[in-house]
C-alpha cells in the first residue's frame, strides 16, 4: 500500500518535471519563432482599393457548366495530362495508337481468320475497328476519369478549382487519342466505298451523343467514389477488360439477335448497355454506309435501333444529371479524404 503510494508520488513528481521541461522548451520555441520572420514596416499611406465585384460564395457550385466557362484552364490541364502521360517516353503519343492497332490485328486474326466469324459480314475490318475505336474511347475516359481526382490531389487540396474539370479533362484527353483513330476509320471507310446518307449521319450524331453523355457520367460518378475507396479504380480496370466482348464487333449482331427468343432477359441486358447501342449506331454510320448494298446487312442491326437509341440517350442524360448531383454531394468532402 505504502509502496504503491510512493510510486504514485514519484510518478507525479516525474510528470511535473516533464511538464516543466516541456514548458521551458515551449518558451524557447516561442522566442525563436518570435524573430523567425523579418520585421518590415509599412511605408507611406495605405491606398483605398476599389473592388468591382459582389460578395459571393468562394466555392460556388457551378458544376460542369463552370468548367466550360474556364476553357483556358481546361486547355492547360489537358495539356498537362498529355505531357505527363508521355514524359520520358520515346514513342510518346504513338503508344495510344499502337495498342488499338495491335488489338485490331489480334482480333482480326482470331475472329476473322481462325474462327471465321466474319462470314456474312462484308468489310469485317471496318465492322471490327469501329467497335475497337469507340470502346477504346469509353474505356479510356472511364478509367482515366476515375483516377483523375485522386491523381490531381495536389491541386484539389491546395487550390479552388471546379473539380469537375478533372473528369472532363479526361474526356478531352481520351478524345485527343481517339480522334486520329476515327480519322483512320473514316478514310478506310471511304476507300472501300462509303457514301453519305442522311440516316448514316443521324446515326453517327446519336451515337456520339450517347457515347459522350454515358462516358462523362461514368467518369464523374467513379471519380467521386474513387476518392473514398481506391477499390473503384481496380473495379473499373477489371470491367474495361471485358467491354470488348460486350459489344457486337468481333461477332455479328445477328448472332446476338438470335437470343431474343431463347434468352430474352440476356438479350435485353446486352442491349441495355449504352455502349453496345452507341457502337451499333457508329457501325450504321461507318460500316453499313461502306457496304455495297446496305440493305443486305439490315439484319445486323436491331429492328428497334432508333427508338432504343433515343430512349438510351434520354437515360444517359438523366444519368449525367444524377452524376453531377452525386459528384457535387461528395465533392465537399474531397479535401479531407484525399
Amino acid at each position: 500500500m505504502r509502496a504503491a503510494n510512493k510510486a504514485h508520488q514519484q510518478q507525479q513528481a516525474d510528470e511535473r518535471g516533464r511538464r516543466k521541461n516541456a514548458a521551458a522548451r515551449a518558451r524557447a520555441l516561442a522566442e525563436k519563432k518570435a524573430d523567425a520572420m523579418p520585421v518590415v514596416h509599412l511605408e507611406g499611406e495605405k491606398q483605398e482599393r476599389f473592388v468591382d465585384a459582389v460578395l459571393t460564395d468562394p466555392a460556388p457550385r457551378g458544376g460542369i457548366l463552370e468548367v466550360f466557362q474556364q476553357r483556358y484552364l481546361l486547355r492547360l490541364i489537358v495539356g498537362r495530362e498529355l505531357a505527363q502521360l508521355y514524359a520520358a517516353s520515346l514513342l510518346g503519343l504513338l503508344w495510344s495508337y499502337i495498342q488499338p492497332a495491335l488489338r485490331f490485328v489480334v482480333y482480326y486474326f482470331v475472329f476473322g481468320v481462325v474462327i471465321a466469324a466474319h462470314r456474312g459480314i462484308p468489310n469485317f475490318a471496318i465492322h471490327l475497328f469501329c467497335g475497337i475505336v469507340f470502346v477504346h474511347y469509353f474505356s479510356e475516359t472511364w478509367s482515366a476519369g476515375t483516377r483523375s481526382i485522386w491523381s490531381n490531389r495536389n491541386l484539389v487540396l491546395k487550390m479552388r478549382v471546379p473539380r469537375e474539370i478533372f473528369p472532363v479533362a479526361s474526356m478531352v484527353v481520351a478524345f485527343y487519342h481517339t480522334g486520329p483513330q476515327i480519322l483512320v476509320l473514316m478514310i478506310a471507310s471511304i476507300v472501300v466505298g462509303w457514301h453519305l446518307s442522311f440516316t448514316a449521319v443521324a446515326a453517327g450524331v446519336l451515337g456520339f451523343a450517347i457515347l459522350f453523355t454515358f462516358a462523362g457520367a461514368m467518369a464523374l460518378i467513379f471519380a467521386a467514389l474513387n476518392v473514398y475507396f481506391r477499390d473503384f479504380q481496380n473495379i473499373v480496370a477489371t470491367i474495361t477488360q471485358f467491354l470488348h466482348f460486350m459489344v457486337p464487333m468481333m461477332y455479328p449482331f445477328s448472332l446476338v439477335h438470335d437470343m431474343v427468343d431463347k434468352h430474352p432477359v440476356i438479350y435485353q441486358l446486352y442491349m441495355a448497355n449504352p455502349l453496345a447501342e452507341a457502337v451499333l449506331l457508329m457501325q450504321k454510320f461507318f460500316w453499313q454506309a461502306s457496304v455495297d448494298d446496305p440493305s443486305s446487312v439490315a439484319n445486323e442491326f436491331p429492328p428497334d435501333l432508333w427508338t432504343r437509341g433515343f430512349v438510351i440517350l434520354g437515360a444517359c442524360l438523366l444519368l449525367l444529371l444524377f452524376a453531377q448531383k452525386f459528384f457535387a454531394r461528395l465533392e465537399g468532402k474531397f479535401p479531407e479524404r484525399l
Binding site: 520585421v39 491606398q47 482599393r49 473592388v51 460578395l55 466555392a59 498537362r80 484539389v156 487550390m159 479524404r337
Partner: protein
C-alpha cells in the same frame, strides 16, 4: 469602406475514418468500436473584414487556422454557416502549392496563374516579373520535383503575390525560405497591403504580425476567442507572463507541439 470577407457562424467538422478495409470495418463493428469519429476544427466563427484590412491570424498548432483559410479561399466548404468574399483570392495555404511534380516550373506557373483567375495574356505580361522575383535561374524549365523546398515556396509565393488579388492569404508560406527571401516577401506583402489588398497573415512571430497587421484574430481549438487590436491580441497570447498562467501552459495544448 466595403466588406471584403463576411464569415457568419461558420463551423467545420472533420470525420476521421479509422477503418479503411472491409475486414477492419467488420472487426470494428463486431467489437462495437466506432467506425469513425468527428472532430470540430472550426467552431461557430463569425467576423467581418473590410477591404484593405490586414488581419493576423494566430493560435496554437491545430487550432484551426489553416482550416479557416481553406474555407475562405473555397478549397473546403463549411458544414454550417456561410462565407462570402469579394473579388479575387490568392495566397498560399500551408507549405507547398498545387504544383505538379513532373511539370516544369514554367508550366506550373501558367497552370497556377490560370487557377487563380489570370488569363493567358495577363500571365504572359507578368511572366518576367514573377520569374525574377522567384529567382529560380536556369531551373525554370526543369521539373519542379527537382526543386529544393525553398525554391518551391519561392515560385508559389511569387505567383500568388503577383496575381493582383483583392484578398491575399499567407499561411506560414515562408517557413522554408531563407532570410533574404523572407525579407523580400515581407516587403512585397507590405507593398500589396499598401495597395489596399485585404491580407490574412498566419504567423507565430509576434513582431512580424505587429508590423504587418492592423487587427488580430486568435483561434483556440476552433473557437474565435479574440478579435481586436494587434497589441492586445499579442498580449492575449503571451501565456508566459506570470506564474499562474504558466501552469495553464503546462496543462494546455502547447505541450502537444513540443
Amino acid at each position: 469602406m466595403t466588406e471584403s470577407i463576411v464569415v457568419d457562424h461558420v463551423s467545420k467538422t472533420f470525420t476521421m475514418q479509422y477503418h479503411r478495409t472491409l475486414k477492419q470495418m467488420a472487426v470494428a463493428t463486431v467489437r462495437g468500436l466506432p467506425l469513425n469519429e468527428t472532430f470540430q476544427a472550426v467552431n461557430d466563427v463569425s467576423f467581418t473584414v473590410e477591404q484593405g484590412e490586414s488581419i493576423g491570424l494566430m493560435g496554437l498548432n491545430g487550432s484551426g487556422k489553416s482550416t479557416l483559410l481553406k474555407l475562405i479561399n473555397g478549397v473546403m466548404r463549411p458544414d454550417a454557416g456561410t462565407i462570402r468574399t469579394r473579388g479575387r483570392i490568392a495566397g498560399l495555404i500551408a507549405t507547398g502549392t498545387g504544383f505538379h511534380p513532373q511539370l516544369s516550373g514554367r508550366d506550373n506557373l501558367f497552370l497556377n496563374a490560370a487557377i487563380l483567375g489570370m488569363s493567358e495574356a495577363e500571365t504572359k505580361r507578368k511572366f518576367d516579373e514573377i520569374v525574377d522575383f522567384a529567382n529560380l535561374g536556369k531551373f525554370l524549365d526543369t521539373p519542379v520535383s527537382h526543386y529544393s523546398s525553398g525554391m518551391y515556396a519561392r515560385l508559389g509565393f511569387s505567383i500568388a503575390i503577383h496575381v493582383d488579388a483583392d484578398i491575399f492569404l499567407a499561411d506560414e508560406v515562408l517557413a522554408v525560405g531563407d532570410k533574404p527571401f523572407k525579407k523580400k516577401c515581407m516587403v512585397k506583402m507590405q507593398e500589396v497591403r499598401k495597395q489596399g489588398t485585404t491580407i490574412f497573415y498566419v504567423s507565430h512571430a509576434a513582431a512580424s504580425v505587429r508590423a504587418m497587421c492592423d487587427r488580430v484574430l486568435v483561434l483556440e481549438s476552433g473557437h474565435l476567442n479574440f478579435d481586436g487590436g494587434t497589441d492586445e491580441g499579442i498580449r492575449y497570447l503571451q501565456y508566459d507572463d506570470d506564474e499562474a498562467s504558466q501552469e495553464e501552459l503546462l496543462d494546455g495544448e502547447l505541450g502537444a507541439d513540443v
